[in-house]
């Protein structure tokens, strides 16, 4: 049986095509579905195994990034999403998708509560949108299924609101203890970064988190933008495998669903 990935589109989401393509390379059957088609019932979330919130500028980042999309999903599709999670399926948010997920409470979702916001993503300390590649180290102790086997990865960030902030010290300590932290920014040799290696001023250099199950995952950098070696900014200087390193994350998701269907 094939793994089916639903890639949300509409209202200013704009990384849907390449996200679908990354899932395709990873072996999934990927389909872009307009949010309104889910809301009006033309399409059913339960027909899919993976739900992706791609990057982009949903509602133009007006009010706050991901906020309006978060409300729209929460109030219209909240039950379907809970059911989706309960049935062992996967949710993956990238950049604006990650912003929407934390703002609707899908992440970090302590104690399985997928409706309370404990963390946020806000304006970069630089006050600017920035497009640059960053070094990430994976937390090998996290049970995130998306990052199995990945220790380090180099990916682009392209955001103005990627600074990870927590509600308080207890939240930070739960994130650490519970293995929620999945990726952290590092410098080029894997050490603690300053600006711009940590491009936004995120606390503890946090770039990605997952829920307790490891099946709901969001990250600020764009793995779908590293599909092929020629995406790498130094590809004319280095020997790199043909497939872009970002695909591994999608493949982990697809393989997990294949094994657990």
């Amino acid at each position: 049986m094939t793994t089916k990935a639903l890639i949300l589109t509409g209202f200013g989401i704009n990384c849907d095509i390449e996200t679908a393509h990354a899932f395709k390379i990873a072996g999934a059957e990927a389909e872009r579905v307009h949010i309104n088609d889910l809301i009006n019932g033309a399409r059913k979330l339960s027909d899919f195994h993976i739900l992706a919130f791609p990057g982009g500028f949903s509602f133009g980042d007006d009010i706050a990034s991901g906020k309006v999309l978060a409300n729209m999903i929460k109030y219209n599709l909240g039950d379907q999403i809970q059911e989706f999670i309960d049935s062992g399926k996967l949710i993956f948010g990238i950049c604006n998708g990650f912003q929407a997920m934390v703002k609707m409470g899908l992440l970090p979702a302590f104690d399985g509560d997928y409706g309370t916001q404990d963390v946020t993503l806000t304006f970069n300390d630089s006050g600017r949108f920035e497009d640059r590649w960053v070094y990430l180290k994976a937390n090998t102790r996290s049970n995130c299924i998306f990052t199995k086997g990945i220790e380090n990865i180099f990916l682009p960030v392209r955001h103005g609101e990627g600074k990870f902030v927590v509600k308080g010290p207890q939240v930070l300590s739960r994130l650490k203890k519970g293995g929620h932290i999945v990726f952290q920014y590092t410098d080029s040799v894997g050490k603690n970064p300053g600006y711009p290696e940590n491009p936004n001023g995120s606390i503890e250099n946090i770039a990605a988190i997952c829920d307790e199950t490891g099946r709901v995952f969001g990250m600020m950098p764009h793995p779908e933008a590293f599909q092929h070696r020629t995406n790498h900014p130094g590809w004319t200087r280095e020997e790199l495998p043909e497939e872009g390193a970002g695909i591994a994350i999608f493949r982990n998701a697809v393989e997990h669903m294949k094994e657990n269907l």
Partner: protein
């Protein structure tokens, strides 16, 4: 009732916007301020209960982790509050999104939500300072209003009372009748007063048309006698310089030192003719549609257009630029039956952001223009999900009078969709006219005629508008879905001239139209019929839909949250027929509307100008090289580049920066399952035009082509787009030197023909903007004549692309192409305050040979790095290649191929065209030299592990400097 909800950051939370505003107040307005914090204000026009206000504050407007909200004033601990909000009728994107989100959450209908922002300034700031900060940085009086309150007044209970910007007024729409049977003098006055931008011959042609008995006989049948304001406005718009390119199509008598000859249309004689004679098999649609179309491969075509948005960007840099970029996006989208948008490329021309003299009245400081334009293009491009793949910024003090904002967009479309060629437009008699996207307001009225006038005291503010990328993004997504389902026949964009222009042009295919203006959706009531017809409100496309498909079309639009409205019918009546309610308000012959314009007759007179030559003594080459690297036209534009998303869509291959160095051209992979790539490049060198616009244009073409070649693009699959921005070239009282300026235009066109032909690089689309002058109070500032030559081409396999950074120590360094004594109008001379006379000249024959050889060498994989030589010459190109790769170089100047040069500064800084710096691994040297045989090239040194840039002239050390020092010189100027 209006409910105000204020949202601020919790104590201790960083306010990044406040911090960057503080920085700009200190740096740009030169006022010391201790701190700036911001508060967002949402004014909701609805009768809400306290509980509803709380729900909105909690669930929508504030982020519980970092923010607080209140229905009372949040401001505290400040010296001044400045609150900035929009004027009525100005696009308020945040307000519009907020309205929708409020309605979703509360499940009720809301009249409106309006966004404003408070800046809390702290420090020793006077009232005058606060005014200066408000008007000089935080708000633009054309579109925004503000209120300033001191802490003392606030303590006394004074609050901000900015009224909500609702468009008020009780104007009842009406149609005015216009008597044209008046004296010539009065006709001229009428044209000026009504901003028609028509000359007397054109006014007389219109007068004659309405006096024609056959015409008046037909009009009577529809109850029309005197011409209506609708008709006059439609004619003025259709006949505007902007839409008809009157100067490019005029009858010109050109004379220079040698001869006098007559040119009947520059466009036909030089541009179109070259493309026709070049006759490439991959040309699909040229000069006929909103954008040019070329073949990409057997299944796909590429589409590209470059527009300018100069005057709006001068008035409101942010709004002008965002409208420029989302506006040009609609050109490829409106070409054939619609292309998917795959890249943006932007070129700006500004005065120095460090300009420190007094500003002429009504002009904004160049730094403010720079920042506003940068931010407009950032929002327009990033929010649309289109990568900004490259561009450049040119600085010259004369752009103080008018900045140039060139916005280009490329698209891709399957060559056949639903069994039909996608580049053709089909419009049948009886097809419905459908307007989709945004609604119509008064914004942008007279944009087309306005851009055909110079900027002066009477420039209207209605020409200013702000783009809304998300409304457009929703429309784009919907239209591509509709296209693939085959539910419409034809599409075009609503740009200059609004539906008057879009429907008028489309109706030429069917042979007529009937527009029903009262069906058009409006942003607010009170628009006169002519305003509805001519409004340039953004984010709209016009389509032709068969009556049988209209239900499917409208249903799909509904489910995609896109407004679409039937506003009339395409006919074969031969008439441009417009009704408002039951009444006919315009009834014009299509033939007269499109072909009745009288031809303009102009004279052009070329006289070669001579400029003083510098006398140069002993030169400190190290300092000179660093000075050049730091010059605005050469220095790193990383500050701008990083704020543009250049990688969305995941096809990025060569990015604008290579290891922090300047890439020559962009390469993208638009089809993610293919290795075929698109190469995008630009050439622009207005400085050379001071000496001769012929060579300026030749150099711009060469620059774009050699950038394309430098990254590995195919010379045989390369198309150009010409884009002329000129100062007024019509001789008049205001422009006594019009004949010279027109001659400059003629000479630019001559070069365009000669060089596109010699290179076999046909133009597929173009644009001209002719009145880029500023004149107020006796001061005139004319921009330098500027040609942007952009290219779109192919690279068969992106894996063979080459970047400009040196790769490994011991690689050999080559200079390709001949260096001549061509320092005229160079950056080097400019740094000394001279122009000189020896402008670079392009030898197309030798360049062509070199380009073909280099293409072969790159294709065979024997080139490690390749960088084009342009501003600052060989010295700058070598240094950039070295510091980008992170290695040193050891260069021997005596080995560089030169013609009659003895001075080392001439060799290093001459801007001779068609040259490259190339590095080759030792193992590939033999093969490389074999391929390049028969061209001018030489091994001039090597890449070194040692981090030093060393240049010797014989035994003499000319330059010895660390690469980090060079890089720092290159980066520091715009490190904001």
């Amino acid at each position: 009732m209006v409910n105000r909800i204020e949202v601020g950051f919790k104590k201790g939370m960083k306010d990044a916007l406040g911090d960057s505003v503080k920085k700009r107040i200190i740096e740009d307005i030169h006022i010391n301020v201790d701190a700036v914090r911001t508060i967002e204000v949402y004014s909701i026009d609805a009768d809400l209960k306290d509980e509803q206000v709380r729900i909105l504050g909690e669930k929508l407007f504030s982020d519980p982790i970092i923010q607080v909200f209140s229905d009372k004033a949040l401001a505290k601990d400040f010296s001044w509050i400045i609150e900035v909000g929009f004027k009525p009728g100005v696009t308020d994107n945040v307000g519009a999104t907020a309205k929708r989100a409020c309605e979703d959450i509360l499940g009720i209908s809301i009249k409106g939500v309006y966004f404003s922002r408070q800046y809390l300034l702290k420090g020793k700031i006077t009232k005058e300072d606060a005014e200066k900060i408000a008007g000089g940085l935080l708000a633009n009086g054309l579109i925004e209003r503000w209120e300033i309150i001191s802490d003392e007044d606030h303590a006394k209970g004074e609050h901000v009372h900015l009224p909500i910007p609702v468009v008020k007024g009780t104007h009842t729409p009406s149609v005015a009748l216009i008597n044209l049977n008046i004296s010539d003098k009065k006709l001229k006055e009428m044209s000026n007063q009504k901003l028609l931008a028509l000359n007397i011959a054109e006014m007389k042609a219109i007068q004659g048309y309405f006096n024609d008995e056959k015409v008046s006989g037909q009009r009577v049948e529809f109850g029309l006698k005197l011409p209506t304001d609708v008709e006059i406005e439609v004619l003025a718009q259709t006949w505007s310089e902007h839409c008809k390119h009157k100067i490019f199509n005029s009858h010109i008598t050109y004379s220079d030192e040698k001869e006098t000859h007559v040119i009947n249309s520059l466009f036909n004689t030089y541009i179109k003719r070259a493309t026709k004679e070049i006759n490439k098999s991959w040309l699909v649609s040229v000069f006929t549609d909103n954008a040019g179309v070329i073949k990409f491969n057997d299944d796909y075509n590429l589409v590209m257009k470059v527009e300018t948005h100069n005057t709006p960007s001068a008035l409101d840099p942010y709004g002008g630029a965002i409208t420029g970029i989302v506006g040009v996006n609609r050109d490829p989208l409106g070409t054939g039956i619609g292309a998917r948008l795959i890249f943006n490329t932007d070129v700006f021309c500004f005065a120095s952001p460090f300009y420190d003299k007094e500003m002429p009245p009504r002009l904004l400081h160049p730094k403010r223009i720079f920042e506003g334009v940068r931010r407009g293009v950032e929002h327009g491009g990033n929010k649309s999900g289109i990568p900004t793949v490259n561009g450049c910024i040119v600085f010259d003090e004369r752009y103080l009078g008018k900045p140039l904002v060139y916005c280009g967009t490329g698209g891709i479309m399957p060559s056949v969709i639903n069994g039909k060629p996608s580049h053709l437009k089909e419009i049948n008699n009886g097809d419905l006219i459908v307007m989709t996207g945004g609604r119509i307001g008064k914004d942008g009225i007279h944009g087309a005629t306005f851009s055909s006038l110079q900027l002066d005291e009477d420039s209207p503010v209605t020409a200013v508008q702000i783009g809304d990328p998300i409304t457009q993004k929703k429309m784009v997504d919907f239209l591509l879905e509709a296209r693939d389902r085959g539910v419409y026949n034809s599409i075009t964009d609503d740009g200059a001239g609004g539906i008057s222009s879009s429907v008028g042009e489309m109706a030429q295919t069917s042979g007529g139209c009937l527009i029903e203006l009262d069906k058009c959706p409006l942003k607010y009531p009170g628009l006169d019929p002519w305003e509805i017809l001519l409004s340039e409100s953004q984010e709209r496309m016009t389509l032709a839909v068969s009556p049988g498909k209209i239900d499917e079309f409208l249903t799909l639009a509904g489910t995609r949250d896109v407004e679409a409205t039937v506003i009339g019918t395409f006919t074969d009546s031969g008439k441009f027929h417009v009704k408002y309610g039951d009444k006919t308000v315009a009834y014009l012959d299509m033939e007269f509307l499109h072909n009745g314009l009288p031809e303009m007759k102009l004279n052009a007179c070329w006289v070669k100008r001579r400029f003083e030559e510098p006398v140069i003594g002993v030169v400190d080459m190290e300092t000179t090289l660093k000075t050049l690297l730091s010059r605005l036209n050469i220095c790193s534009k990383e500050y701008v580049i990083r704020q543009y998303d250049h990688e969305v869509q995941a096809g990025s291959v060569i990015k604008p920066l290579t290891c922090d160095g300047p890439s020559d051209a962009a390469v993208i992979r638009p089809l993610l399952d293919s290795m075929e790539g698109v190469v995008v490049a630009n050439g622009i060198c207005p400085r050379y035009g001071d000496i001769d616009t012929y060579h300026m244009t030749a150099c711009a073409i060469d620059e774009a082509v050699r950038n394309h070649i430098a990254v590995g693009g195919s010379f045989d699959h390369l198309a150009g787009l010409d884009n002329f921005c000129w100062c007024d070239p019509e001789k008049s009282e205001k422009t006594p030197d019009g004949e010279y300026k027109l001659a400059q235009l003629v000479r630019a066109n001559m070069a365009l023909y000669d060089y596109t032909k010699a290179y076999g690089v046909p133009c597929i689309s173009g644009k001209d903007s002719m009145k880029n002058d500023y004149q107020i109070g006796g001061r005139k500032i004319s921009i330098p004549p500027t040609v942007l030559f952009s290219t779109i081409g192919k690279i068969e396999d992106v894996r063979k692309a080459v970047t400009m950074d040196v790769k490994k120590p011991n690689d050999r360094v080559y200079v390709l192409g001949m260096t001549r004594d061509e320092l005229g109008a160079s950056e080097y001379y400019a740094s000394l305050g001279f122009i000189g006379n020896d402008v670079p000249r392009v030898n197309a024959l030798s360049a062509r040979k070199l380009y073909l050889a280099l293409e072969k060498a790159i294709n065979e994989g024997v080139v490690a790095s390749c960088h084009d030589c342009s501003d600052g010459g060989l010295g700058v190109a070598l240094a950039e290649s070295a510091f980008s790769g992170g290695f040193g170089m050891n260069i021997s100047l005596t080995k560089v191929p030169v013609e009659n040069i003895s001075r080392s500064d001439t060799i290093l800084f001459s801007e001779s065209q068609s040259r490259f710096v190339v590095t080759v691994a030792p193992g590939n040297v033999a093969r490389f030299q074999g391929i390049m045989k028969g061209t001018v090239f030489a091994d001039v040194g090597e890449v070194t592990k040692q981090q030093e840039f060393i240049v010797k002239d014989g035994e003499k050390m000319v330059i010895r400097i660390g690469i980090e020092e060079l890089k720092d010189a290159w980066q520091k100027t715009l490190r904001w």
